[in-house]
Amino acid sequence: MATARLSANKVVIVGAGPAGIRCAETLLAAGFKPILIDENRRDGGQIYRRQPEGFTRDYATLYGTEAAKARDLHQSFDRLRGSIDYRPDTLVWNLTPGQLCCVSQGKHTTVEYDALILCTGATDRLMPIEGWQLAGTYSLGGAQIALKSQAVSIGRSVVFMGSGPLLYLVASQYVKAGANVAAVLDTSPLSKRILAMPKLLARPGLLFTGMKLLAQLYQAKIPVHLGIKPQQVLGDESTGVSGVRVSTARGETLTVNCDAVALGYHLRPETQLADLAGCRLRFDEASSQWLLAVDEDGRTSVNGVYAAGDGSKIRGADAAEHAGRLVAMALLEDLQQPLNAGLRDEQRHALAVMDQFRLGLAQAFPWPADQAKALPDAAIVCRCEMISAGELRRTVSEKGACEVNRAKAFSRVGMGRCQGRYCSQAGAEVIAAAAGVSVQQVGRQRGQAPVKPLSMLTEEVSP
């Protein structure tokens, strides 16, 4: 991994969430003035997303159990904002060695870097269900952004379905905000949670918070079902979602009426920039997905490129703060700068504990790969291109495409607006099941620019 001598002139951090902010803070304390580029208009990232200017909800309302951490992170950022080169509302849409391609308000600029620290976060990990293309189907993260940013609910009556901690967090945030939550439907059975207890106890406080969220839901008389199997999002093309149908742990069919559904199975890392930079990814058995290959402190396989936070390994916001500090220290070490070894050990130790917890979560709320296998042929896998599971399976059976990029070329799954963010992992499971090979063997979709859709009106401005 990275050992060659680095120049310290231009240090660029991408992403102003918990990892990016703690990284910037640590570098600033060591006398460096990083450039911090963020796609959002305000700092905080996803979990500590700040509301737009002019909104006045207080921290307890906005962040609930996470209010103190949110306030602390925002205050830290406000302190360092004047001393770093902060560029909000700026998308890094591509990169070449030593140079980032950025777009802000329709203007393209390049930013040179000697060292690049990717704190690009995560998005929802999704598993298709028949009918999920109907209007009113959102991801959990999307549902949370609507509430946090704009103080709106995604519907009058909302079902939360999927698995993972975010399912309970967002549902309880909706309850707290006064929204009508019709049900919380979790695919993981209680037994998995019990088995995962030893690992989850690595962070008893967080485990307690999770239980408290669940208690709040029960207290509010929200129906919570564990071990369900999703069957269908009900509704029609013209009026959108009208309900969901699942089978319960006891095998009974349950229909819940609603006009919106939020889906999600924990998170997947945003690795496109790292992929475009040539960083190696590795298959993580525990979560059954491709993650960035980084060393303990956040060095990628490419010299001068570092990563921290959920963008490299899904461990949550607390871990992202530690990883942000740690990756800054890795860079400082590579620059032969003096280090506070004690502080570094603290971060490493904290992260090791959180990694145990991560494994516990993966065990308690497993990615439901079997659902991909059971998906009816008519179910849409790729919502951008409207490609069904049957069409995808036919590229395997009739055209012999047993690899993700080949299947994409033949079927268009992953070729649309989202560039595979929402469908590629599930698509890989469908391919693997149809081909009778492991999901690791079918590979991962190669990253291609632009990282997000780029307006044809984008114009170059002279630096």
Binding site: F410, G416, L457
Partner: protein, 384 residues
């Protein structure tokens, strides 16, 4: 070691090799096709998808016409239409003094089958009202069109396999030699494939093999620069490309029926030949946006959702290497199609199959002979 034998071994599973395998089987030859990676992975699967004859070197139109006739018959030939649409192709220019050049091309006897029609002024903008005001003239080819390159080579390979061809993917050639009357191809996994005739269709890697037989060619590699927008209602059936002598003005686009607009042209990138990966240069995308806004002003409301590249082989005279070896009996080449091989693919496969099976071909391919790069005896003695 088991030796696998066939009448013809083909090295390189792009569109040329796959189509040749298919047509050789149709002629009853036994065929083994060796592909180092996946069928159609580098140039064949990533190009723009132009099924265009107009604008080609006039001496290539006989071959292009033969290929066009095959494009029309694809469903009956290979049971797949490759999304081919004979939607028309329009070659436009930004300068009045370029119109006579388009007219001269249209008037050439070789281009007779293309039925080209020249548009200019008010008639041009009435017929193509979406074109920008800078467009001064254009040559319309009603029978040309476009198809989906991602599907082409794999569909030919599947059809060849159905006819009994043996297709070996992920099979890299380590060594090729001719021993006695037979070619012997050894692969890196230790297998051996023998045949009396050998066809090299290795695209950007073609010259590595031709050089082994003493016929090096000055082949260069480039990555095409492609982009695609999000889908919008299907309104632009005609493929449109700019005719110009200024490289950054070169731009072409086509809309597919599902709505996306595919864009290509402008700068080319240098592929990473070690890792066999080509990237799109950011400046290419920005240039394409600027050029597209000039050519098709309404495009400004759209987003680019994806860009891609590939690895293509180019020769200095922009013509391919195609035909028999100048030095070794039974050795044939079809590579280095300089970024415009897609339309020719079925025709190249057909012609090479005819040439290999019968010893001659009814379509002239003389201008593409590898002999044009052969060193004269005098040059050879100087070089040594």
């Amino acid at each position: 070691m088991t030796v696998h034998k066939a009448d013809v071994v083909i090295v390189g599973g792009g569109l040329m090799g796959s189509a040749a395998a298919f047509f050789l089987r149709q002629r009853g030859q036994s065929v083994i096709l060796l592909e180092r990676d996946q069928i159609g992975q580098y140039a064949s699967g990533v190009n723009f998808g132009n099924v265009r004859r107009q604008g080609r070197f006039l001496g290539q139109l006989a071959l292009a016409n033969r290929s066009w006739a095959l494009w029309k018959r694809l469903p009956e030939l290979i049971d797949d239409d490759l999304e081919f649409i004979a939607s028309g192709h329009m070659r436009v220019c930004y300068r009045e003094d370029e119109i006579p050049e388009l007219e001269a091309y249209a008037a050439a006897p070789e281009a007779a089958q293309l039925d080209l029609k020249i548009f200019r002024g008010a008639e041009l903008h009435a017929r193509f009202p979406f074109l920008g005001p800078d467009v001064k003239g254009g040559s319309y080819a009603p029978h040309d069109g476009h198809a989906n390159p991602r599907l082409a080579a794999p569909a030919f390979a599947r059809a060849a396999r159905r006819l009994g061809a043996r297709i070996e993917e992920r099979t890299e050639v380590a060594e090729v030699q001719k021993v006695g009357g037979e070619f012997s191809v050894t692969t890196t996994d230790g297998r051996q494939f023998n045949a009396a005739q050998l066809l090299i269709t290795a695209g950007a890697w073609g010259q590595k093999l031709s050089a082994q037989f003493g016929e090096p060619v000055p082949l260069d590699t480039h990555g095409p620069q492609m982009a695609v927008t999000e889908p919008v209602p299907y309104a632009l059936p005609t493929v449109i490309g700019v005719y110009t002598k200024i490289p950054e003005e070169v731009i072409y686009f086509r809309q597919i029926p599902r709505g996306n607009i595919v864009i290509g042209g402008g700068y080319r990138s240098k592929p990473d030949m070690l890792n066999r990966r080509a990237y799109v240069e950011p400046r290419s995308i920005l240039n394409q946006m600027e050029q597209m806004r000039r050519l098709l002003p309404g495009v400004g409301n759209l987003n680019i959702i994806r860009v891609w590249s590939g690895i293509e082989g180019y020769l200095p005279d922009s013509l391919p290497v195609m035909g028999p070896s100048g030095t070794v009996d039974g050795l044939f080449y079809a590579f280095g199609f300089c970024g415009h091989g897609f339309q020719l693919g079925p025709g190249v496969g057909d012609v090479m199959a005819e040439l290999i099976s019968t010893g001659s071909t009814s379509t002239s391919i003389e201008p593409f002979s590898i002999n044009r790069f052969a060193l004269s005896a005098e040059q050879r003695s100087k070089a040594s």
